[in-house]
Symmetry: C2
Subunit: 364 residues, 2 copies
């Protein structure tokens, strides 16, 4: 393998001259520059990354920590990871993936051994050890997510609390007063995934404040959840909910939507549906559903940007929190609450076209 010495020899100059040609930190005559560049090209010289790093140069490597855990949503998982990798690459950084179960140890290993320039934390939970221990890394560190303890780590996330408040308000403004709430998977609450908890809490709290009556689903498990029962119970209520807010994954939501339609309800005329803190690939949905989505691309872009800026300007970012406004995607599954449904369940739901027409006329 050709080293800088070989280049120097081939070009008939000293080692330091070659280095200065490459870094441009001192002026070099154009004649010499030419000779050196030609030699570099001839020999296919590429500087040794380790030697450079030893001299305090940047590696242009970023560690991404995403420990594998059970019930992990593969799609969602790779969405964040791929986005981050892509963003990093666009900025000239390579990505070292850490999936080990003892994440803190892994991060400490790669930072202390000076293998990476910075760290990005994915899939962080409400009480995340990786974030809590960030001070130990001695390298810039950014998390996507907002754990309780985050004073030693920069955090970037969607403002899920605002999302909860806003969703309650949104339905209220449309006249809904009875709202069904479909929980996320139980396992996500159990592992204290921040976004799940933040949204639910804020949503329920706001609902209470403004007088939205909530019918919350039982625990959800993708494999065993009984959608028919949930929908049955929901429609049996009096007064019947006129809107459904879902935190659940695309599969369960799709089944639920299908069941609602099978029960003769039209979306959004008879029932509004809103999915929050989710990532609906359009494809498998029976009917498009409006949502306040995850935004892996935007989040990763912001996080990676601030991480790289911290790295390159060698300035700390510990404790910085960036919450971005949730976005609303209108797929037409939200509408004004139907008048009839609030008063009594003994009326036909929507099975008859007439009744809906009548309602429509009455509302004019």
């Amino acid at each position: 393998m050709a080293g800088i010495k070989d280049v120097a020899k081939a070009a008939g100059v000293s080692v330091s001259t070659v280095s200065y040609v490459l870094s441009g930190k001192r002026s070099i005559s154009s004649k010499t520059t030419g000779k050196v560049l030609r030699a570099i090209d001839d020999l296919g010289y590429i500087p040794d990354a380790s030697a450079q790093k030893m001299r305090g140069q940047l590696n242009h490597i970023i560690a991404i920590s995403e420990p594998m855990h059970e019930g992990m949503n593969q799609m969602q998982y790779s969405a964040y990871f791929m986005q981050s990798a892509w963003q990093a690459r666009a900025a000239g950084y390579d990505v070292l993936l850490l999936t080990g179960l003892d994440a803190v140890a892994d991060i400490e290993r790669v930072t202390h051994s000076n293998l990476v320039d910075g760290v990005l934390l994915l899939d962080v939970e409400e009480r995340d050890a990786r974030v809590a221990q960030a001070a130990r890394y001695h390298k810039p560190c950014v998390a996507i997510g907002l754990p309780k303890i985050h004073k030693d780590c920069a955090c970037v996330d969607i403002d899920f609390a605002k999302m909860g408040t806003r969703s309650a308000d949104r339905l209220f403004a449309l006249g809904h007063r009875q709202v069904a709430f479909l929980r996320a998977q139980e396992i996500d609450y159990a592992r204290h995934a921040g976004y799940v908890l933040l949204f639910r809490e804020a949503f329920l709290e706001r609902a209470r404040q403004i007088g939205l009556r909530i019918f919350e689903s039982g625990p959800v498990d993708n494999a065993t959840f009984d959608v028919r029962k949930f929908v049955g119970d929901m429609l049996a209520r009096n007064p019947r909910p006129t809107a459904l807010v879902s935190q659940s994954g695309v599969n369960i939501l799709n089944l639920t939507v299908t069941a609602l339609m099978a029960a003769g309800l039209k979306i959004p005329d008879d029932i509004s549906v809103l999915s929050c803190g989710t990532f609906l690939c359009e494809e498998p949905m029976r009917r498009p559903v409006s949502e306040e989505p995850f935004e892996p691309e935007r989040l990763c872009s912001i996080a990676m940007g601030s991480l790289i800026s911290a790295i390159e300007h060698r300035q700390g970012i510990a404790g910085e929190v960036t919450l971005i406004d949730p976005k609303f995607i209108d797929r037409g599954s939200l509408a004004v609450a139907p008048k009839g449904a609030e008063i009594s369940t003994s009326r036909p739901i929507a099975s008859a076209r007439k009744s809906r027409n009548l309602e429509g006329e009455l509302m004019n």
Copy 2:
């Protein structure tokens, strides 16, 4: 950051003694060993990876190359990648992901700059530049896949040619003579994905040899493929195919199976279904289908094993080819060819009456 000098000072020994304690390459008295280990622990010392690498030590980093390309199957993509990362980690290696579009340049960069100890190539195509250029890397390199030119690179893959032959034989042995063949996505043939071509070629060739009549689908595009037409055309043939071999993805296959069942055909009594070179997540399938699957886990395990062995024993593996026997998963969708169907299509297809009606409908 504590360095080896600090440890030496704290333990009251020389730098080289500390190094020997760590590497165990010379005998050190247990008293000294104790002092040194305590100092290391106190200071939280972790050796600088760059300095070690400069002395010719291994990095324990493996580059995984998986260029992003259009129409990439996210699920399948991450399956291989995650498996590899997992296997690497289990062997004490971290993983550097290269997704850039100019893959050869990226690999050359990380190998020449001595950033990684070896390279794993994923998603390789029949004429894969990364494999063809493997000689330039000067580091051990293993590909999952078997391109035409592979003399400078070790290759690990399922024996898709054997899979093709065996599938033809399997159906023949069950008495099938008329077989429909559902192609993979056109884009996969177009980019010369090796497995797709190898399987199809071997399957069709063997079919010709033993006298299997093949009805091949038109070009498939996940977004636009007309499943109804394909199934309609297939059932309209005389004699009607008694088996379906599919190279297509799970979505199209599922639709096809659904259409077949809707047409009144029972699987496997009226028609056998076999999926080859696929990765059927059970969940979304309307009916389980027997398959000769991809085996990401096995493949990655073998590939990573031989890569790491080459790295650690510093011995070349260029040109080594490992083809593993395809596996057959019986999900009960294969059966002996129905007697009637072979002779004439004027006979009822299934045991039932409405099948003719449906045939008629489909032909409209």
